[in-house]
């Protein structure tokens, strides 16, 4: 680590690509950076999301020669890039030398490898004297990105700052970048709870940690996937999700941010702040959300209260928040997730699920949360 071991004091970090190199298609730069971040995400509790405007924790840019930080680049070769340790302003930023020939392969300078190294600096890692380490200072293409592995020295270093990934369990899930194992939550674990649940174009998605179960009409057996397999830039451990059916959008919430996805496309201009929806600044996260297809009203659950949002006017309805127990008797806070199906609302709370009849205004069934997963 750098002298004094600077580190980020939070585990969810934002990044922004300020400009691009003409050497590579933009999408390739974006994908390489996402892949490089996943290298570190896989062995720590860190998660990352991309901003398309404004100040991010990690600002990424390409520049040649003198570029305003007293460490001018030096033309082709020698210094390829540099990055600053965690902290405010230019700290945490990553600069790539535009005078290099950036490539995706073994010729020129492989952008993914250098990005993974520099992002290690942006997270607080200094150079390693182990030649097999990603954080060794001299560029070395011996490890092709497809078979890239962090060395134990890299993992020890980053985990000395942030600890291991919460699920550094033992069940093997083949991931492209690191050998440590991650554990898929067991779908029929009786204690299973969900982070969020949402329909998507007729399917149902059940989110948990870094994974989602996908329930579709043609396959009764739920499929499990990494969230990042569909939406690489989304964080894990989500708070809430709902589908605005008429807009063909799923809105996904974590902390004070939310994203809009359309199928597998994360919409530009996101994440936005939840306060743009009309929440008071005191609200720091949403527990659960569900949108009523008929009325086009969306219900947001926070603690023991709920808000109602008008999707047509894109405005929070007046007279809210109200107490959950006043309008949903029998539903106890805190709500983990909510689903509307067959005319009922299904409230998920820990490993239990409460079927609520909005007409009778009462709980009609209590089930296990994972009953939808054929358990």
């Amino acid at each position: 680590t750098f002298p004094g071991s600077p580190k980020w004091r939070k585990t969810h970090l934002t990044y922004r690509v300020e400009n691009y190199t003409p050497d590579l298609p933009r999408e390739s730069v974006d994908a390489a950076i996402e892949k490089a971040l996943k290298v570190w995400e896989a062995v720590t509790p860190l998660t990352f999301s991309r901003l398309s405007e404004g100040e991010a924790d990690i600002m990424i840019s390409f520049a040649a020669g003198e570029h305003g930080d007293f460490y001018p680049f030096d033309g082709p070769g020698q210094s390829l890039a540099h990055a600053y340790p965690p902290g405010p302003g230019f700290y945490g930023d990553v600069h790539f030398d535009e005078d290099e020939k950036w490539t995706l392969g073994s010729s020129g300078i492989n952008f993914f490898l250098v990005a993974a190294h520099e992002l290690g600096h942006a997270l607080g890692l200094f150079h390693s004297d182990k030649k097999e380490s990603l954080m060794y200072p001299v560029y070395n293409f011996s490890k092709s990105p497809a078979h890239f592995r962090l060395s134990q020295d890299d993992i020890d270093g980053i985990q000395s700052l942030y600890g291991p990934h919460p699920y550094s369990g033992v069940i093997v899930v083949p991931t492209s970048s690191v050998s440590p194992r991650t554990e898929i939550p067991t779908k029929c674990d009786p204690s299973l709870s969900f982070d969020a649940v949402s329909p998507l174009r007729g399917e149902l998605l059940f989110f948990k940690d870094r994974y989602l179960w996908r329930l579709s009409h043609w396959n009764p057996e739920p499929e499990v996937h990494l969230i990042s397999a569909f939406w690489p830039s989304l964080p894990s451990h989500l708070d809430a999700a709902y589908e605005a059916n008429s807009k063909d959008r799923v809105f996904i919430f974590k902390g004070t941010q939310f994203w809009a996805v359309r199928g597998s496309e994360v919409q530009a201009g996101y994440p936005k702040s939840i306060h743009t929806l009309g929440f008071p600044l005191a609200v720091r996260k949403i527990d659960a959300a569900v949108s009523d297809k008929e009325t086009k009203k969306t219900y947001f659950f926070v603690g023991d209260q709920y808000w109602r949002f008008d999707e047509k006017r894109w405005l929070m309805d007046k007279g809210f928040p109200r107490l959950i127990r006043d309008d949903f008797p029998g539903i106890e806070p805190q709500v983990d997730a909510v689903l509307q199906a067959f005319g009922f609302f299904y409230f998920f709370h820990g490993s239990s699920q409460f079927e609520f009849d909005p007409n009778a205004k009462m709980v009609t069934h209590t089930l296990k949360s994972n009953s939808w997963l054929l358990c």
Binding site: A83, Y84, Y139
Partner: protein, 84 residues
């Protein structure tokens, strides 16, 4: 030291090596002045410090192995002391 007969043309390596050590190994002003007399112990020590970090034989000299590694592309972050 006895004056050398003729002013030797410093090999380009010397300038390059001095800049490298300044940039990545915190070669400081005093050591810099002594750099031209590359056998002086602080500079030998600095070269050995670099050789140790980069996994090279610690000869204390700018031998070809050492120069080869120094000439390779690398990260611009220093190996010692971090950015000032």
């Amino acid at each position: 030291y006895p004056l050398q007969g003729s002013v030797r043309q410093e090999p380009p390596n010397m300038d390059f090596a001095q800049r490298y050590l300044e940039k990545y190994y915190n070669l400081d002003k005093i050591e810099k002045q002594m750099f031209k007399r590359k056998d002086s112990s602080p500079v030998v020590k600095k070269i050995q410090e670099m050789q140790k970090f980069l996994g090279l034989e610690m000869t204390g000299k700018l031998d070809s192995n050492t120069m080869d590694v120094m000439l390779k592309p690398r990260c611009g972050v220093p190996d010692v002391g971090g950015f000032t």
